[in-house]
Symmetry: C2
Subunit: 140 residues, 2 copies
DNA sequence: CGACATACTAACGAATAGTTAGTACGCACA
DNA sequence: TGTGCGTACTAACTATTCGTTAGTATGTCG
């Protein structure tokens, strides 16, 4: 997965690399955002915030990931410099994943959001409930 | 869009609604996470953190959204209670979107992450560069 | 001698994202 | 008076991505 963003005409790429601009369509930071905030990306970062884990342990911890998606997610995060991948050359294979310092920072920010969502679930569920009720009223 | 999560056997739904658990496959908080961290969800929250905006102004501000995706994203966020939608009954249509207090909280957390990514872009781009170099070496 | 475990990849069908075209209606310009 | 523009959408279609299943190597256990 090499780094070949579509360049916006007139804006030098180096400008984006000095500091990203997510609102700009051509900015490579959108790729990183995608990796970090992807469904499985978030959960992997959360899982590894606690401890170093092997592939299959991660798979058990993160409920519902397929092997393909987990492998892909791990590769993306490794490419962006968020993960360390240490593989021991034995059979059966043994590979350990852990966060790099950059990954720890990312996981921290994502963690704040994830925690907030978990804590705010009751409020959000309440909104869902109210909406259902008013929809029901409209039908009568 | 009604609220019908797949229930994990043995775990009462009310447990998830007391506080979400993102690692649990059946937890409805995953839906919320998806809406908030979706590509366009993030950018819409960022854009509305600054000011109330109309549909087409949002579209111009968030580079590269299609109308369909913007409409869908706005509906999701509105359903979760993050957005206020105020529509004036005139022609041509005039609809204003703004953040609810809940939405402001979400936008704040997402904003910290987004800012961090923008600021960290140089570091990440550097990792990309190094990886490209070592890949090139392997080919020789 | 199977069966199982691990960390993957290839191939395929299913779901999701994105694109394009259309709608109602009023206004400006020619 | 008619041609075109602007707004906030939705429907229909296509491209892309996701997810599921099956395969691989090889050592240990029953």
């Amino acid at each position: 997965m090499s780094y070949t963003p579509t360049k916006a005409p007139g804006i030098p790429l180096s400008d984006y690399l000095r500091r990203g601009d997510l609102m700009a369509q051509a900015c490579p930071s959108r790729e990183v955002l995608k990796h970090v905030t992807s469904k499985w990306g978030v959960l992997v970062l959360m899982a590894l915030r606690i401890e170093t884990l092997r592939f299959s342990a991660l798979r058990r911890k993160v409920g519902g990931v397929s092997e393909r998606m987990l492998a892909q997610t791990l590769q993306n995060l490794e490419n962006d410099g968020f993960l360390n991948r240490v593989s021991y050359d034995v059979v059966p294979p043994h590979v350990e994943y852990s966060l790099t310092p950059l990954g720890q920072e990312a996981a921290e920010k994502v963690g704040v959001l994830a925690d907030w969502i978990e804590v705010s679930m009751p409020k959000i569920a309440q909104v869902w409930g109210e909406r259902e009720q008013s929809e029901a009223l409209l039908k009568v």
